[in-house]
Subunit: 222 residues, 2 copies
DNA sequence: TGCAAATCGCACCGATCAGTTCGATTTGCA
DNA sequence: TGCAAATCGAACTGATCGGTGCGATTTGCA
């Protein structure tokens, strides 16, 4: 698998010289270039030679840092997955009303999920889900599914404090997320909508999602 | 296995001589085999030789009937797309209450969209959406989007007769469809849920979708 | 500066695959 | 039955691509 550099560098070593395939800067350089190549052309169409050219490294070096093209792709996906959903959980710590919190949460998730990079990544992952089934499942678990779990926990708190009345809370969380991206994501994924949805589009979708959610699960006091 | 010779053609049709690449039975035979190959292995992994073997025809003949592998794939998708959404519109002609109609509609669409064949087709199409952007858009327009248009028209009628109160009707249609498949489709697509959702799973999802929809857009009389 | 390690550059391998060619074979109408 | 058209089958083409091997070059510490 990936060379998860378990080698403990001494301070002296870390400064400049690294073992073969152990320079984090070079590793990052490869991943940045490969990410661009994959995003622009897809997994199959992006050749290893293209990747090397874009990243500005030699093929020999690439294969010192990564075992295979698939290995490289996995490393990129895992990194991006974590990066994208970073600020997600914080929104749910706010003390605002559920309406406001849900609106912010829905907006954020719609922005992420419908962004060109994420849509492209999703396309690639879905397309090779047969060849690399574990990767698809992990991407989903660490991305959209994790957001759903976070939202579930938030909703549980709001139910406990009587702000919301929900019987099946995980289902409600999934519903809200799908509602937030309802008219946007699927067309994006299939290429029917080629341009990024505007802030206004997202606002319409998310505010309607919040309204619907509150109509169904609100207790009338908000 | 390969010979699908119980074809539904009359003796007259079948006995006739056809021009090269003009025998509908042979064309169908190719498409049946190719469909199996594509579904089992995906677009790239399914080789033309595999397709020929499964279909029980020679490569030469295949290229008499279809210009390319992509051409063949398109023909299959267009055919399947129409077949799957066949009984969809009829449900919306029922005189039942909106709750019942929506429940039937949601159940049907969830069954279709989450079925193994459709999920696999969606994966393939999404995966090659970059190479064949038109196909993805057409597949979406003729499939899920058409269902959404049908539902929009139904909802318009119900709004006109005062059964429902909706401001943005196309948005509401999209919302209902997404709600119906909310906890099911995405995990299926990413390979997180490898087995077909049970009737019970679908019922839970759809009935909750209906309840939510009525809570948001009902006028209280139903 | 010298030396060893890391990286580079590039040819090369082996495999795959879409699509073509063409002679052999089957099919079905007259 | 004869003949022409449709189909078969299998070799072949041309190109792509992931991955390897190895000598040349650069890098950075001693």
């Amino acid at each position: 698998m990936t060379e998860q550099d378990n080698s403990p560098f001494s301070d002296a070593e870390r400064a400049n010289r690294h073992g073969a395939g152990c320079d984090p800067a070079k590793r990052n350089q490869i991943m940045v270039g490969a990410k661009r190549a994959f995003m622009e052309r897809g997994f199959d169409a992006a050749g290893v030679n293209d990747i090397c050219q874009i990243a500005g490294i030699s093929k020999s070096t690439l294969y010192v840092y990564f075992d295979s093209k698939e290995d490289l792709f996995e490393a990129i996906i895992e990194q991006e997955r974590d990066r994208l959903f970073l600020g997600m959980a914080e929104i749910l710590q706010s003390g605002d009303t559920p309406e406001k919190v849900l609106f912010q949460f829905g907006t954020k998730i719609a922005e992420i999920i419908c962004s060109p990079e994420v849509v492209q990544a999703q396309r690639i992952i879905i397309g090779i889900a047969d060849r690399m089934p574990e990767l698809g499942a992990r991407f989903f678990s660490g991305g959209a599914m994790r957001a759903q779990v976070d939202l579930t926990n938030y909703l549980k708190r709001k139910v406990a404090t009587g702000h919301l009345a929900i019987s099946d809370i995980p289902l409600a969380a999934a519903q809200f997320i799908e509602l937030s991206i309802a008219p946007l994501w699927k067309p994006r994924l299939f290429g029917k909508m080629s341009t990024l949805p505007s802030d206004h589009d997202i606002e319409i979708s998310v505010s309607s999602a919040v309204a619907m959610f509150v109509a169904a699960y609100g207790n009338g006091t908000t």
